[in-house]
Each structure stands twice: as structure tokens, then as C-alpha cells.
Symmetry: C2
Subunit: 399 residues, 2 copies
DNA sequence: GCTTAGAGTTCAATAGTTGGACATACGCCG
DNA sequence: CGGCGTATGTCCAACTATTGAACTCTAAGC
């Protein structure tokens, strides 16, 4: 890193300013760039030439009917980012470019009993296949975002204990994938990535403060504060699943009683329907049955919604986000679950905070996490790696 | 504002960099400034001369036994900021300089029945008196921070309904004080300012993520996230007083049942002791009695602590701050209340979040809010107003 | 007293932005 | 069809600000 406060750092900042402006608008003429960035036309002219020579930007000779406006846009393969998500049942991979376009996406079932090594193998293969299929330049891959369904220790990068992928505990997924793929890998948990995905491509667009609630086998929240994922000093922010709703409620796996999770997570909710609907139920099936009119499933989902609403009300009082996005299988239930959530929020949150809160279903479904991983790779690159031709690579023998 | 991205903006940034470095260290030689800021010695030389000529910095010819090191420090009257706090029972004013030194501080009782106009009169007089007493140059006053014990609408600056200062509802305190004092006034509520005060001068020093819990006639929290006060999009973040602890608990003034406030705030707690200890009890008195060994008061305070702990556990799960600071009268009870809080947190928060949380009493007592107001004035000035001689002034006929 | 080493200043060199002048291209209008 | 007006993008000189190197100055160590 060059010394801060020098002109060259200013120049870099201006480069990024231009790139950001172009990306936000998709395509801009130089004059427009000058106006939106506040830079002078002369400076923009220089910067655009520099970016064009570096290959990060493309100049199409003419665009709309004007005098002679050359439209500037990010070149499609200026830098490639990859998102990988180890989900509860699926492994997903997405490829995108720096223009925030998703080039390809693929999912395959993941055996929960697979060993960590097998999982990494599969992921590596799927990435390679997708890279080959899209025909992107392998050397243009600038970073990878990785999603894992469990707590990640910020310091060490170690995966904490997770009941979804037993046997993965103690592995260092980012390090492992980085070694295999030869590029930097950023890792985060599924709730945070879901939040990021919905923020950039889904129901959270245009909002700066957002909570993404993911209800699956557990309940987690990803918090976006001022446009950035908030992990907290210890990295465990967003543990909405274990706030206490009823001190004398059912015992939770965390050791407490009456956690939100005990009223909402699949492992606690599905047994309620066992006697009436059989033992092979999944959350997906319950949602489908509820949509088809099954009264028992409707009731259960409404109850879940009410409890989630209580938790969201707490969150809303404390953080006052402008939007709550519901993800996970449960989101498919639509109004069947959102209605009760809103009702609970309206009842338990203070009115001034609840009034301006919107509760929406996730727009991306199961894709939220992969796309979030993509966004993580983008954001962790700080938009600056694309400015010079030298994309960062991690030595294969990474230690 | 000059165009961003220009060299002059870079220059300003470097000026601020130097000022910040000097303030953080208290006093630095030029060579040290160069090392900590990363700027070259030549640049530092120029900047220091510029700042010295502008009067914002003082150069003492020699300091410690070295070769010939001139120590650079912020000049005491480079810029003056004032904090004003309308508290529940007191009006407090503090005067400080840009070096984060508190020059003077004074409090006087404030009649709760006083009209808003009377209150503003008193505040204006107290400010003028303190300015005169400290002998600071009136024209050097760069900004004022103002604390009010009630919700402030972010958009309009209007004070919402507050039961502490009835009759003030609907006034625009910042505008009013700005008109009277002729300088920009920033306003915020007491919990946020308490958080800021403890962060800068008190128990929160060195921490970037902090929750300040203020228990008084109500219960509020001020949240510091990544070193800045977090107000939320609607400005109502931190309403910890109205998270639900018991759905069938006592009815709260907010209309719900079992809010944290109904178990902890003075208005709900004091009546518990009426039959045994008389009706004229204040929270202060209860704390004093508890410290002297009164078993009833001890029990009540411990119960309050346990409930606060439940709320803090929720907050801790959601936000995972590294420190919680307890303010308000209740903090005087020390371990009598902190013990039960820690116990509840340990029981209800997830272990990984609770483990690294420290719960401390506020170090500033009733001064936290004024000092926070001071810090608010400093921070809202962005440290930049002191760089040129022209301090901002608001026209008397401010509209 | 000489040497040494660090502090601060000066000066030329360098990097980068800016305003203005200029060439270019297109639509409009006569 | 040609001139006019307007907006775009480029080039050049002027200006601003940082930097490295050379230089001076001071005090400590021997």
C-alpha cells in the first residue's frame, strides 16, 4: 500500500469513484461521469482512458441519439467473483462479474453425511465446471465468497460446532478453499450472506438498514447496518434464535428455556404435526400443505409467525431497521406467515418503530446465500482490486 | 464545499489527519506526526506551519530532553464546544475545547414544571455565565450539543411527547438554542448522549461497540456501533425499555404488557416499597438504603437487575457488543445491581456472546449526558471546522 | 572538541487535477 | 443543403500539493 495522503492515493480514490459511478448506473457517458462524481471533464477523460487501457472498462463508440456521446461501461470480464454456499441440503455456486451481473448459477444436492473433504472436493469441481461452462478467463477470478451453515470464528476462521454438517467442526473452510482455488476466499455464515444477497439483489434493494431472518433447522438473523453486514466485536451478532420469549417454555438445545427457536425452528415445530401428518414431514412440505389449505399446517405456521413477530418486535425496538426480510423455507408460505408476523410486531413493538417497518418475504429463495457469497466477495475486494491489472492471487502453498 | 477528489480536498484530509493524530496523543513532535500519519516530514512541516498560523495548534519551543524537538499540541482555545443537558431534575452545561478537555462544568436544579421558554432562558444564561467565567473567547465557540430527555424526530427536530418535561412537546430545541446562541446546535436524547459521554470519557473508552443502559423514570439504551451512535433509520433505535419480558406482565404506559420498563423503571418500582418505606421515596434513596443494608431495597434492586439482565441478554444476542455500561441513578448501586445483571446475562444470553461481554457501571454518573453533548458537538463538527479560522456561525435570524 | 544522530526546513522534482481552448459530431432551422 | 447552436471529449498550460534529498541545527556521547 502506498502512503496514504499522497496524490497517488487520491488518484486511486478517483478511479474507484468513477468505477462505482459507472457500476451504479450501468453505463454512463464521460460527461455524466463528470457530473455525478464531481470531477472535471479533463480528469474523467484521463481516468477513462486509463481504465480502458487496463481493461476494466469498455467504451462503446456511440449509444443513444446525442451529439457524440461514448458510453462507458464495465467490461464484462474485468474481474470475476465466485460465490459458494454449503447449504443444509444443497451445494450452490454462482459466478458473477464486477458489474454485479450474475453470469451463471448451479446447485446440486449435498449429502449431509459427506465428510468435509468430500464437500470441498465437490465444491471445487462444481466451481471448475461452471468456470469452464461460462468460458470466463480462469485468471480473471479475483475472489471467492463462501457460505457455511454454522458459526465461524472471526479470528481463526474455524467453523464452530454445527449440527447441520457434523464432522466439519474445526475445519477452516476459507483456508481450505483458498488453497484449492488459488484465490482469496472470504467466509461468513448463511444468515449474514442471505442478508447480503437480499440487500444487493433481492427484497432489500435501496435500503441501508435491514434484518434478514432465516428460519430453517435453526433461526438466525443477518443484520445490515448502514449498508454493511454487522457481525459484532465477537462475530456472533444476529443470534435472534436464542432470545428468550418465555422463561418457562420448552428447553432449547442451547440450555435455556423458551428461546425463539423452540417455537419456530423446524426441529421443534415438525414434531407437533407428527401424530396427525406422519413423521416424514419437512418444513417445505408443511408450507406446501398450508398453501393447499391444510388447517393444521396453517395453524402451526401462523403460530410460528406470531413467535417470530415477537422476536422481530424486540429487534425492531432495539435496532429500528427499515426492513425485515424473511428467508428460508418458511418464506414460501407468504402471507400465511407474514400476516401473523406483522400482527405480532404491531402489537409488541413500540408504534414509532413499527410504523415504518416493512416485513417482506425474501425475493431470492434458496439463492439468497450464494448470491450473498458473491456480494461478499465483491465487497471484500473493496472494488479496488479491479483497478490495476494485477488481480490478487494466493500462492498455492498458502500457510 | 469544494469539489471532492481535488487536491485541495486531499490537503484538508491531511490537515485533519494531523489534527487527529495530535489530539489522540495529546502532544507530538513533528517527526512523530510524520511517522504516525504516514505523511512525509516535509508535508508535516508545511501543515504544522499552516495550523500554527491559523491558531489551531501551538508549538512549544522545546519539551523533553531531546535534540531539538518542538512539541505540537492543540491550542487550548482553538475551538470551543459547549454541551447542554436538560436532565430530569437538573440543567447541566459543560465547556470543552477541541483537545477533548473539559474546561468547566456546572449544574443547577431545573424545575420540571418550568415552561420550555423558561428552560431555554435558564440554559442560555448558564451558558453565558460559564463562558464568561472561563474567559474563553465568545467567537471561538464552534458548536453546541444539546441533550433532551425525550424522543427527537430526526427530520423535523421536534421533541416528541415526554412525560418528564410536559409542555415541551412540539418545541424544536436545537433550532431554539441555535437562534439564541448564534451557533449550530446538535440535539439528541439522553440515552444516546450518555453512551457517547461514557464512550469518550468514561467506562467505554477503547471500545467500539457499546450499549449504554440508562435506568431512570424510564429505561433507554444508547447504542454505539463501530464507534458511532446508531440511531436507526427512524431515529428510535435503543428502545430497550419496551421489549417484552412477560406477555402477561403488568400493563405498561406504552400499552403493552410486561415491558422491561414495568419491572425496572422508577415509576413502576418505587410503588413496591411504598407500604414499607413510605411514599416519598426516590430511586436515589432506594439505592442509598440498599447500600446501607436495607433488605427490602436490596431485594428490589436485585430484582430490577435481573430483569435488566434479561433485556441485556436479548440485546447481547442480537448485537453482541463488547461492553454494556449502566447509567442513571441505579448505577450507584454498584454490585448490588450489576451482580444480578451479569447473572441474568449469563443465564439467558448465548455463551459465546456473553463470554466476552463486560458489564460496567458508568464512570461519569449524572455528568454522562452533558459530556456526551460535548462529544456530540465535537463529532458533528467532524473535526474540520477548526481547520480554517472561519468558524461557522448561524445567522441570528435563523429560519 | 569532535562526532553522531535525530529534528525540522528548504528546494527542486514529480504527480495529478483544473479551467479553458479546441476539434468534433449531431440536430435544428432556414 | 449549409449554417448555427449545443454538447462531448481531448489537449495544453497553470496550479496545487506531496515527496525525496540536501541542508542546517541542536544536544548527547566519547
Amino acid at each position: 500500500m502506498e502512503t496514504p495522503g499522497s496524490q497517488s492515493s487520491l488518484h486511486r480514490a478517483n478511479l474507484e469513484r468513477v468505477v462505482r459511478a459507472v457500476r451504479l448506473a450501468g453505463s454512463l457517458t464521460q460527461a455524466e461521469i463528470a457530473r455525478t462524481t464531481g470531477l472535471s471533464a479533463a480528469t474523467v477523460s484521463n481516468i477513462v482512458r486509463e481504465l480502458k487501457d487496463g481493461g476494466t472498462v469498455e467504451v462503446t463508440p456511440t449509444s443513444a441519439g446525442g451529439r457524440r456521446a461514448r458510453s462507458v461501461s464495465l467490461s464484462g470480464d474485468a474481474g470475476i467473483v465466485i460465490g459458494v454456499d454449503f447449504g443444509h441440503t444443497h451445494l450452490r455456486v454462482a459466478i458473477g462479474n464486477l458489474a454485479h451481473q450474475v453470469l451463471a448459477e448451479e446447485a446440486e444436492p449435498l449429502d449431509v453425511d459427506a465428510s468435509a473433504a468430500q464437500g470441498f472436493d465437490r465444491a471445487e469441481q462444481l466451481v471448475e465446471r461452471l468456470v469452464a461452462a461460462t468460458g470466463v478467463d480462469r485468471t480473471k477470478v479475483a475472489g471467492v465468497g463462501l457460505g457455511v451453515p454454522g458459526p465461524i470464528d472471526v479470528e481463526s476462521g474455524q467453523l464452530g460446532s454445527t449440527s447441520i454438517l457434523p464432522g466439519w467442526t474445526g475445519t477452516k473452510p476459507a483456508e481450505e478453499m483458498s488453497r484449492r482455488l488459488g484465490v482469496p476466499v472470504q467466509v461468513d455464515n448463511d444468515a449474514n450472506l442471505g442478508a447480503l444477497g437480499e440487500l444487493v439483489w433481492g427484497s432489500g434493494r435501496g435500503v441501508k438498514d435491514l434484518a434478514y431472518i432465516k428460519v430453517a433447522s435453526g433461526v438466525g438473523a443477518g443484520l445490515v447496518i448502514s449498508g454493511k453486514i454487522y457481525r459484532g466485536p465477537g462475530g456472533t451478532a444476529g443470534e435472534i434464535g436464542h432470545i428468550t420469549l418465555d422463561e418457562s417454555g420448552p428447553v432449547c438445545r442451547c440450555g435455556n428455556r423458551g428461546c425463539l427457536e423452540t417455537f419456530t425452528a423446524a426441529r421443534y415445530v415438525l414434531p407437533l404435526l407428527q401424530s396427525s401428518h406422519g413423521t416424514d414431514l419437512t418444513m417445505e412440505a408443511v408450507v406446501r400443505l398450508a398453501r393447499d389449505g391444510d388447517p393444521g399446517c396453517r395453524r402451526v405456521i401462523a403460530d410460528v409467525g406470531r413467535h417470530i413477530g415477537s422476536g422481530v418486535a424486540n429487534l425492531c425496538n432495539l435496532l429500528n431497521p427499515s426492513r425485515v426480510v424473511l428467508g428460508g423455507d418458511l418464506a414460501e408460505a407468504g402471507e400465511l406467515v407474514l400476516g401473523p408476523i406483522r400482527e405480532s410486531v404491531g402489537r409488541y413493538a413500540i408504534p414509532s418503530a413499527a410504523r415504518q417497518l416493512s416485513v417482506l418475504p425474501g425475493a431470492l429463495g434458496g439463492r439468497a446465500e450464494v448470491l450473498g457469497a458473491l456480494a461478499l466477495a465483491l465487497s471484500e475486494m473493496g472494488d479496488s482490486t479491479l483497478l490495476d491489472g494485477t488481480l490478487p492471487t494466493v500462492a498455492p502453498a498458502f500457510t
